[in-house]
């Protein structure tokens, strides 16, 4: 076997493994003084990693390990988006990690997070269901540790327990479905399977079971129930990572598998997605309106966003793929900005995350309030922010494929979502408050990350070359 192909095509994973080893060693070697610069060290490493892997080195696709691992340029783009998201989360997490009770284990946070990232990278590039499953589990198990990171706090531990139990359930069901596939098709290679999928009832059943696993990751209704509890209980930085990076990877690989493996039963999975999209967007919106806690609120917001993301999946076209990836990128910028604000407010106000606590934030912290507002505007899809363009493209892609009613339902739901996003804005700007969150100055990393997200929220929609650039690679998928 020619091992040079491994290095030439799996460069992202190999470099990431290198980063993990470096972080582990730093954790081991660095003394009390050196640990103070842990964030700087990791962020610099990540920066080099992103800079080195952001551009796809190869134009075409290639198989490694006999097709277990598949290199595609568009997967490379998704991996870069994931890595950038991780970097932004790292930038935001220092205030939390410098606390008395977490200071000693900050190395663990970085290593665990990077391990999940590695798992997702493998998952995104999988060419075989086993590879896909291993990647997913590699991402899932450390994720449970991350959720329960503040394990001495009751709700963090509870969140971790709920997460791991739900994840196990989902994985079990999914593996069950995959085993049926092996039984009916005789292979688990994506490329060989496509011809063997004939739409027999057993295969349809296993299609649904397989979908539940990713539906769990994406927290689509009805597989979403863990989301709110976990998002609320987990440390805010972990929540933001969970809501963005983990979703992005799952949405992408879902599209790839549907398009590559199941084109012959597209009617079935499109119907399934149709139902799930309508349920996700609607149910999440309905719940979001009633929330009192901002993190819980963001959980439902992210469920409904996942519904919109699925609009890109349901198309199964290169244009749908392009708008999907663009949507993920824009969603990442807005969501990480919102969570960045939530996280820094939480750290500087003694753990306040209620929506009422945000009353009058504009008076004391105008910059944070404005960033939060722009992030919410982008999530709601108000022009001229990037969220408008991403929604526009993804709706257009679905409309083009004839999902007119679906797009109409999604449109109505954006109106509802506008209402609850604006509730937060109203709290920050209008509702008076006797003792609002006092004025404070965030740490440097958070400020930098918010600035990055802000640039994304404003620029991504206007600089059309981003969308075109993604489109260029998506068409070769």
């Amino acid at each position: 076997m020619d091992y040079s192909a491994i290095f030439s095509y799996m460069y992202t994973e190999i470099a990431l493994a290198g980063v993990i080893v470096a972080v582990l060693l730093y954790d081991l070697i660095a003394g009390e003084r050196g640990r103070r610069y842990f964030q700087t060290f990791v962020c610099l490493l990540m920066l080099f990693f992103v800079a080195g892997t952001v551009y796809p080195y190869h134009g075409g696709t290639a198989d490694v390990f006999g097709g277990m691992y598949q290199y595609t340029p568009v997967a490379g783009i998704v991996k870069s988006i994931l890595a950038i998201g991780t970097l932004i989360v790292f930038l935001q997490s220092d205030a939390w990690l410098s606390r008395e009770d977490t200071r000693f284990k900050r190395g663990e946070f970085y290593v665990l997070t990077l391990s999940t990232l590695l798992g997702m990278d493998f998952m995104v590039s999988a060419g075989h269901f086993m590879m896909f499953f291993i990647g997913m589990e590699l991402a899932s198990v450390p994720m449970a540790c991350l959720v329960a990171f503040d394990k001495y706090k009751g709700n963090s531990a509870e969140a971790g327990a709920k997460f791991i139990l739900s994840a196990l359930f989902a994985s079990g069901l999914m593996l069950y479905g995959i085993s049926f596939f092996y039984g009916t098709a005789g292979t688990l290679y994506f490329e060989d399977m496509a011809a063997k999928i004939d739409g027999s009832p057993l295969q349809i059943l296993s299609l649904v079971f397989f979908f539940t696993g990713l539906g769990f990751k994406l927290s689509l209704v009805p597989f979403h129930l863990w989301t709110a509890d976990t998002y609320q209980g987990a440390p805010t930085s972990v929540t933001s990572y969970l809501s963005v990076v983990s979703k992005a990877a799952a949405a992408f690989i879902l599209t790839v598998i549907f398009v590559k493996v199941f084109p012959s039963v597209s009617d079935y999975w499109q119907l399934m997605l149709y139902i799930v999209i309508v349920l996700s967007i609607t149910v999440a919106n309905v719940f979001a309106i009633r929330q009192k806690n901002l993190k819980r609120f963001m959980a439902f917001s992210s469920i409904s966003q996942a519904g919109y993301i699925m609009l890109g999946v349901i198309c199964g076209t290169p244009y749908g793929m392009t708008s999907l990836i663009f949507y993920l990128l824009v969603y990442m910028a807005a969501n990480l900005a919102a969570f960045g604000v939530i996280s820094t407010v939480e750290q500087h106000s003694g753990g306040k995350t209620g929506i009422e606590d945000y009353n009058g934030l504009y008076r004391t912290n105008p910059k944070l309030a404005v960033i939060m507002t722009l992030a919410l505007f982008s999530l709601a899809g108000i022009p001229p922010f990037a969220g408008f363009f991403s929604k526009f493209f993804i709706f257009a892609a679905a409309f083009e494929q004839g999902f007119h009613v679906l797009v109409f339902i999604a449109l109505i739901n954006t109106v509802i979502s506008l209402y609850y996003y604006l509730l937060i804005v109203k709290a920050m700007f209008i509702t008076p408050n006797e003792n609002p969150v006092p004025a404070f100055r965030s740490d440097r990393g958070t400020r930098l990350s918010l600035l990055l997200c802000l640039a994304g929220i404003i620029a991504l929609g206007i600089v059309s070359s981003v969308f075109d650039g993604i489109g260029l690679y998506s068409f070769g998928m």
Binding site: A161, K162, L165, S166, F169, A170, L173, P201, I204, L205, L207, V208, F209, F211, T212, F216, V221, P222, F223, L225, W226, A228, D229, Y268, L271, M272, I275, V276, V283, N285, V286, F287, I289, R290, I412, V415, I416, Y419, S464, S465, D468
Partner: protein, 629 residues
């Protein structure tokens, strides 16, 4: 010539910087920065013009159209896409020079005029925004980019008219300007969409094979685009915003509402000229009649206004009418046979920008000195303000069309083009030229000669403006003196070939005579202190005088139409529909959502085992649905 992108980027940068830093910047620093940037932009524009025209003509004898910079910004399906880029051709290069020159002069001038004003930084920031937008408009590579910058220009005009936002009149004026032009822009947008739909591109030069299929709709599209142009260029009956726009600071009036933005409509027609001539000559001639009527109407109104800025505003409307007429009377793209008007129009645009900016800046000096816009506060100012006096006189002579000032040359070409189209048009325009001379000199005598308001001047002695304000005056006066000798036809002509301007002396003699009569009449009526003739005429024709003073009640007609007809009969029912049906639907959504959320809140119980049941139940439910359907 990639550096031309800097012409747009630098003012944008200046806008962002001075806008974001705001009052954290010292006023002087903001002003200096904005002025320096505009100065560099002006130099770049001159260099662009120099190297563009210096590069010479191509084999076909025309200056080639260059696109040094272009990016596909928004692709649609098929061939349709929106580009952002820079297009250089003779008229866009000419406009670059005009805009950057006037803008630079206004930047310098504003130092003195706006000194000590609140919001000085904001003022310079908006000026930069305007400069950027206007430059972007003229170098647009396609009609949609033009539209984007067209709206940006509208916004900056709105912001600057309403600069004194604590004054009620200024706020009303800015709203009026925005709404009226926006209303017209609707026509422009619809025109663009029709154009894009039928020609399959937003380019100025679409595929001629495709145009064949769009034959019926192309004139319609061009006509609608002209409505947009008429709004910006204050053509009758969409002119009503321009006189009110004078509520803005005077240098702004000079830059936006005299020299640059208001000629955007003319530029638009000139830009689309090949299409107009090739496929919709009738529409082009309609614009000529609109322009001629506007020119006449505005000239008559200008004769009786007492606010000096209003006089200049109506004079601007009238002069833009001249430019539109000149384009509209073209019957072919050969300047020797019916296409002369194109060159004449662009020439007049150029010279008018210079002398009208000069007039406004001069008016600014006068207002600065006497703290009033009304003629009654002036009179006899020549003693106090010699520089303003001489430069103002230069501009008056130019606009009246007296040899050897620049206006003579461009107006002569316009009249020649009109006579070539039809003698009636020629004589009408000649008459309006005479009226122009009359009202301009009425203005001049009322300001600098005539009855002096001694009480006011004793209380507060008028004084010459500071150097920052007089230097731009002198510069523009020098340009006004020299611009007529520019061999303009050499650079710009309807078919791109070199055209040698030759004065048609029969036309010139007539127009000179008419102008002289106008000036003589004004001298007779207004030079002396008592103004017996003028007053008695005003009394004898009091009906006409009053109607003209009230601008023939056009604003009142608008008021009637909008309030009594549109608001009462159309808006009220629509508002009812909106409030009850549209909002009702939204309220229904909210109500259903609320109720629904009560029903299903049990789902989120907090017990992980129940979550598992939902999970499995959901999966099985999905499977059943898929298998049954």
């Amino acid at each position: 010539m990639e550096y031309t992108i800097l012409i747009l980027l630098l003012p944008f940068l200046s806008f962002i910087l001075t806008g974001l830093l705001g009052t954290r910047l010292k006023p002087v620093a903001a002003g200096t920065f904005g002025t320096a940037v505009t100065g560099i932009v002006a130099l770049l524009s001159y260099w662009t013009a120099f190297s563009y025209f210096g590069a010479g003509r191509n084999a076909e004898g025309i200056y080639p159209t260059m696109i040094p910079w272009n990016a596909e910004w928004l692709p649609f399906g098929g061939s349709l896409h929106i580009d952002l880029g820079i297009l250089l051709d003779p008229i866009s290069v000419m406009m670059l020079v005009v805009i950057s020159t006037v803008s630079f002069m206004v930047h310098i001038y504003s130092f003195g005029y706006m000194k000590g004003e609140r919001g000085f930084q904001r003022y310079y920031s908006f000026l930069s925004l305007f400069t950027m937008s206007m430059l972007g408009l003229v170098v647009a590579t396609n009609i949609f980019q033009m539209y984007i910058f067209w709206e940006l220009v509208g916004v900056s005009s709105y912001l600057l008219i309403g600069f004194y936002y604590t004054r009620k009149e200024a706020v009303a004026a800015s709203k009026k300007a925005f709404i009226v032009t926006r209303f017209a822009d609707l026509g422009f947008l619809v025109g663009i969409l029709i154009y894009g739909f039928y020609t399959g591109s937003f380019s100025f030069t679409p595929d001629s094979a495709v145009i064949g299929t769009a034959k019926v709709f192309l004139p319609l599209a061009l006509g609608l685009m002209f409505i947009g142009g008429a709004g910006k260029s204050a053509m009758f009956p969409l002119h009503i915003w321009l006189p009110d726009a004078m509520e803005g600071p005077t240098p702004v009036s000079a830059l936006i509402h005299a020299a640059t933005m208001v000629v955007a409509g003319v530029y638009l027609v000139a830009r689309m000229f090949p299409l107009f001539i090739g496929y919709a000559p009738e529409v082009l001639h309609i614009t000529a009649y609109v322009g001629a009527f506007t020119a006449l109407y505005a000239a008559v109104v200008a004769c009786v206004q007492s606010d000096i800025k209003r006089v200049l505003a109506f004079s601007t409307i009238s002069q833009i009418g001249f430019m539109i007429v000149s384009l509209g009377v073209c019957t072919s793209s050969d300047p020797h046979a019916g296409g002369l008007g194109y060159m004449a129009s662009m020439f007049h645009l150029f010279t008018h920008a210079m002398f009208k900016a000069l007039l406004f800046l001069g008016a600014g000096c006068i207002i600065h000195a006497v703290h009033s816009n009304e003629m009654s506060a002036m009179g006899g100012l020549r003693k106090y303000m010699p520089v303003t006096h001489i430069t103002f006189l230069t501009a008056c002579l130019a606009i009246a069309g007296i040899w050897p000032f620049s206006g003579f040359f461009s107006k002569d070409e316009i009249l020649a083009a009109c006579f070539a189209f039809s003698p009636v048009m020629g004589w009408v325009m000649t008459f309006i030229a005479g009226l122009t001379a009359f009202y301009m000199f009425r203005l001049y005598y009322n300001i600098f000669w005539g009855r002096e308001n001694r009480e006011l001047h004793a209380e507060h002695t008028p004084h010459e403006a500071p150097l920052t304000m007089t230097i731009p005056l002198v510069f523009l006066a020098a340009v006004t003196l020299a611009a007529g000798w520019i061999p303009f036809g050499n650079f710009v002509s309807s078919d791109g070939q070199a055209y040698r301007i030759h004065i048609d002396w029969s036309v010139a003699a007539v127009s000179l005579c008419v102008a002289a009569v106008g000036i003589a009449l004004a001298t007779w009526m207004y030079l002396r202190e008592d103004r017996k003739v003028a007053d008695s005429l005003a009394v004898r024709f009091s009906g006409l005088h009053k109607a003209a003073y009230h601008r023939f009640y056009i604003d009142e007609i608008y008021q009637f139409v909008t309030h009594k007809i549109i608001f009462a009969c159309i808006s009220t029912p629509i508002a009812w529909f909106d409030r009850h049906v549209v909002d009702g639907f939204m309220n229904l959504l909210a109500y259903v959502t609320q109720k629904f959320s009560w029903v299903i809140r049990g789902m989120q119980s907090g017990y992980v085992q129940r979550y598992g049941i939902w999970f499995l139940g959901g999966a099985l439910g999905l499977a059943i649905v898929l298998l049954l359907v």
